[in-house]
C-alpha cells in the first residue's frame, strides 16, 4: 500500500487505528506556546496583509511587480533559527529594525548579494558588479528597509489597533548567521522557543531579485498580538 506523506498535514493511520502526525520538526506549530491552528492562521494572515503593503511599496520603488510566497509561521528553538534563515555561512545584506509600543519585536530583511546588486542597479543605475558599501549605498538600503518596514508596521497598527514606533534601521553585510546573532541574543534572554514569521518576496522576470522578510516578535508580544486580534487565551 502506498503511503501518503505530506509535510504539515495530520494524516490518520487507518491500519493501526491511531492518528499519526507528519509535521516537519522545524515547523512544529507553536506547541509549547499553545498556539492553535486558528491563531497560527491569524498570524499568517497578519503577515500576509502586511507583506502585501510592503511589497507594493517596493514595487513602486523598483517599478516591477513583486510577488511573495505565503508567509510561514514557525515556532522554533533559538539554536535552529540560523538554519531557517539560510546558510549560516552565506554572506548577505541584512537590514534590521526594532519596533516598540504595546508590543515589541524585530524586523529583519535579508537580501542575497545578487539581489543587492540588482536593487542598486534599478534604483541608482549603477551597473558595477562590485559591492562596496559607502555611506550613500548603505543609506540607500537602510532607507529601503525603512520604507518596507514602515508600510508593514502601518498595517499591523491598523489591524491590532496599536501605535508602533520603529527604530532607525541598522545595516550589516556579513554572514547570515552572524547577522541574526544580536537579535537572537535579545530574544534568548527570556526564552528558548520563539516565533518566527517568514515571507519571501521576488520578481518573476529574474530570479535574482529576491529577499526574505522576518518578523520576530519578542516572546510576550505574540500573545499580546493574538489578544488584540481577539484570539487571546
Amino acid at each position: 500500500m502506498k503511503e501518503f506523506v505530506g509535510a504539515g498535514l495530520a494524516l490518520p493511520d487507518f491500519r493501526r487505528g491511531k492518528p499519526r502526525r507528519y509535521i516537519k520538526e522545524d515547523e512544529m506549530r507553536a506547541e509549547k506556546m499553545d498556539l492553535d491552528r486558528v491563531q497560527v492562521d491569524a498570524l499568517q494572515e497578519l503577515c500576509n496583509i502586511g507583506m502585501g503593503h510592503a511589497t507594493t511599496a517596493l514595487a513602486q520603488i523598483v517599478g516591477k511587480t513583486i510577488y511573495f510566497d505565503v508567509p510561514r509561521v514557525i515556532k522554533s528553538n533559538i539554536s535552529r533559527v540560523p538554519e531557517l534563515i539560510g546558510k549560516a555561512d552565506e554572506i548577505v545584506v541584512g537590514i534590521y529594525l526594532r519596533f516598540q509600543g504595546p508590543i515589541t519585536g524585530n524586523i529583519l530583511f535579508i537580501f542575497p548579494r545578487e539581489s543587492v546588486l540588482l536593487l542598486r542597479e534599478i534604483i541608482t543605475g549603477n551597473k558595477s558588479r562590485e559591492l562596496i558599501f559607502d555611506e550613500y549605498q548603505t543609506s540607500l538600503l537602510k532607507e529601503l528597509g525603512n520604507i518596507l518596514a514602515g508600510s508593514y508596521l502601518s498595517v499591523m497598527e491598523k489591524l491590532l489597533g496599536m501605535n508602533l514606533i520603529q527604530s532607525v534601521p541598522w545595516f550589516a553585510f556579513d554572514l547570515a548567521g552572524a547577522i541574526i546573532d544580536p537579535i537572537l541574543i535579545q530574544l534568548g534572554k527570556d526564552t528558548d522557543q520563539i516565533v518566527v514569521i517568514e515571507a519571501e518576496f521576488f520578481i518573476r522576470e529574474s530570479k535574482d531579485l529576491r529577499g526574505k522578510f522576518y518578523l520576530l516578535p519578542d516572546p510576550n508580544s505574540v500573545l499580546l498580538m493574538l489578544k488584540a486580534l481577539g484570539l487571546g487565551a
Binding site: P82, A178, D181, P182, L184
Partner: protein
C-alpha cells in the same frame, strides 16, 4: 578526511583527534575552544549570552558563558583530561550593528559582543584556564573550525581572511 561535527547556538561538543568541530556564523556569539595538548581532546562551545542571572531558561547548557565553561570542564575531566593542562581559545564577540549602541533606549552596555568576551574571560579566569589565543571583537562575522589534533582554531572571517590561532 576527518569527520566533521557541527555545533549550533548554545551547544557544545567534545571531540577526539580524529574529528573536527565547526561552528558557522558567529556574530556577537562566542566560540570557545578548550584543548588538552597531551590527550589531544578538544571541546568547542557556541555561547550566546554572558550570564544566566537575568534569564529564565535552563542554565544547564552552553548558552551562557559561565555554565558553558563549567560544563565543558566537567566533561573533559570525565574524558581523562587534566585541568592544569587545559588551554582556551576564544573567537567571536563582534558588534554586528555598530550604530546600534544607544544608551538612552537600551540601557548601558548593549554591546553584547564585548560583554560576552568579558564574561568568557572571567569564567576562564575563575577556573584558572589560560587563554592561548583569541580573535575577538570588531564588526565582522566569523566561522570557526577547531582541530583537536593540533589544537588549531581556524577563524574564517567574513572578509575572506583566515586566521589560525
Amino acid at each position: 578526511m576527518k569527520k566533521e561535527v557541527r555545533i549550533k547556538i548554545s551547544e557544545y561538543c567534545l571531540a577526539p583527534e580524529s574529528e573536527i568541530i565547526k561552528s558557522y556564523g558567529l556574530g556577537s556569539c562566542i566560540g570557545l575552544a578548550l584543548w588538552d595538548p597531551k590527550k589531544k581532546i578538544g571541546a568547542l562551545a557556541h555561547i550566546l549570552l554572558p550570564s544566566s542571572r537575568n534569564s529564565r531558561p535552563r542554565a544547564g547548557s552552553a548558552r551562557y558563558a559561565s555554565s558553558a565553561v563549567s560544563l565543558m570542564l566537567e566533561e573533559m575531566i570525565k574524558a581523562g583530561c587534566r585541568r592544569d593542562r587545559l588551554v582556551a581559545k576564544v573567537a567571536g564577540g563582534a558588534n554586528m550593528f555598530p550604530a546600534r549602541f544607544n544608551p538612552a533606549a537600551d540601557g548601558p552596555g548593549l554591546n553584547i559582543g564585548k560583554r560576552n568576551i568579558q564574561a568568557v574571560r572571567r569564567a576562564l579566569a575563575r577556573k584558572k584556564i589560560p587563554i592561548a589565543g583569541q580573535e575577538v571583537g570588531g564588526e565582522i562575522g566569523r566561522t570557526i573550525e577547531f582541530n583537536p589534533q593540533t589544537g588549531e582554531l581556524r577563524v574564517y572571517k567574513s572578509t575572506g581572511e583566515v586566521k589560525i590561532i
